[in-house]
């Protein structure tokens, strides 16, 4: 085999992944549900989507993303629970605080996984090996949260290899990938086992004659750039597969929004508008929480016949208040094809800029908007969410439950100011 130019440095990135996080935390909280096939969803209904499944459920073939009725066909004893964000937030905080006790360089990738970079701190952690630190973290989680909590730990020279290592032996595994066992590890995997390679990329790789991770590793940067990814992504993959870090960047906040799948699809305004108004209020809260204003707004709908529709508009003046967002959203929403039955609706605010609300405006109306919004936010922060809200969204505040924020943790504190 030709010289593959692998990264030969000591692995100093640790990826920690809570196993089937929400389901495992629920089993921790409910001892009577341990060793049983359970799942977690945002709101229980016949067709609700399972967002986490216990290992017992997974062993029976129940997968994340499956509908409840499908899971019940596999096993009628399947138990479904609704999400409890406060519980997951507590475990998230515990996990983060344990991770930060080893290095200041901790990055949470989502609510159930994070990365510790030991590059600048390993020599200060009692000269322990990363494997022994990993073992210690597993024990601390059991002591501080509960004995049912298990994590997968992966150690590698970059974030990608650490994540791949963390997925090798689930649940409760710990693996290290470095230049010595990299090829052997790739030999045991399929292309889609690699984080970031799903069926679409797999097809592109296959078209270029790449069928295994080892083929992928042996492909030249030029082949990956020109034939497979047709962008700088090819060079990134070339580096990533060899254990060099290319994923250590922060993403810029581009848009903020919310979506909602209706319990009963309808085309009736009296049923749709309260939900739209509620989505506007929660989007407004997120904007203000991130201290940004928006200039663009988009409304998108999915109809019960599977068709999608969207309308968007840019404004010269930025906006942030629930009232403004709703007025602008309503203008777009009213342009939809009226006869179509709406199944899912979503709102997205974009063209975000840092808020200038701390500066008093020359326009009295802008100041009044700001003061009113601030007063309402303050009252809701003190007494709990939706103590004051638009009367038009009265029914929706009871209907639409806050969802668990996948992929990011930035709204967790906001989500928890509830009730």
């Amino acid at each position: 085999m030709k010289n593959l130019l692998l990264n030969k440095e000591l692995p100093q990135i640790m990826h920690i992944d809570l196993n089937s996080a929400f389901a495992m935390i629920e089993q921790q909280a409910h001892p009577s549900l341990r060793h049983k096939a359970i799942g977690v969803t945002n709101r229980i209904s016949k067709h609700c989507c399972i967002i986490a499944a216990s290992y017992e459920a997974k062993n029976l073939g129940i997968k994340v993303g499956m509908r409840l009725d499908e899971a019940l066909l596999i096993t009628p004893n399947f138990i479904i629970l609704e999400t409890d964000p406060a519980k997951y937030h507590y475990v998230y905080q515990k996990l983060m605080s344990i991770m930060k006790s080893y290095s200041p360089s901790v990055k949470m990738k989502s609510i159930d996984e994070g990365i510790i970079d030991f590059h600048d701190s390993l020599k200060y952690v009692h000269h322990q090996s990363l494997e022994s630190i990993g073992q210690e973290i597993k024990e601390k989680l059991k002591q501080e949260i509960g004995d049912w909590i298990t994590v997968n730990i992966g150690i590698g020279t970059n974030q990608f290899l650490a994540k791949v290592a963390a997925s090798l032996h689930k649940p409760d595994g710990m693996d290290k990938i470095d230049h010595k066992n990299l090829i052997k590890t790739y030999q045991q995997l399929k292309l889609t086992d690699l984080t970031g390679i799903a069926s679409h990329y797999e097809a592109r790789l296959n078209a270029a004659g790449i069928y295994t991770p080892l083929d992928f590793l042996q492909a030249s940067a030029d082949t990956l750039n020109r034939l497979v990814f047709r962008s700088v992504n090819g060079e990134n993959w070339y580096q990533r597969l060899r254990g060099f870090e290319v994923d250590n960047f922060t993403t810029k906040l581009g848009h903020i929004g919310r979506q909602w799948v209706l319990n009963k699809p309808t085309n009736q305004n009296n049923l749709l508008l309260p939900s739209l108004q509620f989505l506007c209020q929660t989007t407004g809260k997120k904007l203000r929480f991130k201290n940004v204003d928006a200039r663009g707004i988009m409304i998108w709908l999915r109809f019960n016949n599977g068709e999608n529709w969207y309308q968007r508009k840019m404004y010269k003046v930025s906006f942030f208040s629930d009232h403004d967002i709703y007025q602008k959203a309503l203008y777009l929403f009213n342009q939809r094809p009226n006869n179509m039955i709406v199944q899912t609706m979503g709102i997205t605010c974009y063209q975000l800029t840092k808020s200038a609300r701390n500066q008093i405006s020359l326009l009295d109306q802008v100041n009044r908007d700001h003061w009113l919004t601030t007063a309402i936010d303050t009252i809701n922060e003190k007494y709990g969410d939706f103590k004051i809200f638009s009367a038009g969204s009265l029914n929706s505040t009871k209907l639409i439950k806050q969802k668990i924020p996948f992929g990011g943790t930035e709204y967790f504190s906001l989500l928890l100011q509830h009730n």
């Binding site: 909280a29 629970l81 406060a86 100011q417």
Partner: protein
């Protein structure tokens, strides 16, 4: 399908405050009186705090060895509520 029954009732609770042995929390509910029945808690499964506005609520998920119970202690009113139980 969903074995959790919502109760949301104020209950009598006897709690034990320990020095530092248990790292989950130093406060352990030991006994609940609900509908004239005494439930003896055998296990603290999970503790977590939560917020209702600015009020802190301490949530204790406990078990009597057979069923699971969710107890909440409101730090503003100093009231224990039995929020839910899991029946098997």
């Amino acid at each position: 399908m969903n074995p959790i029954i919502t109760i949301d009732k104020v209950v009598d609770v006897i709690a034990v405050f320990k020095k530092d042995k248990n790292k989950k929390t130093n406060c352990l509910p030991a006994k609940i009186r609900y509908q004239n029945q005494e439930i003896i808690i055998k296990q603290l499964a999970l503790y977590h705090p939560t917020k209702a506005g600015q009020r802190t609520i301490h949530v204790f998920d406990v078990s009597d060895g057979q069923n699971d119970y969710r107890l909440e202690f409101d730090t503003q009113n100093l009231i224990w509520r039995l929020m839910a139980m899991t029946i098997n």
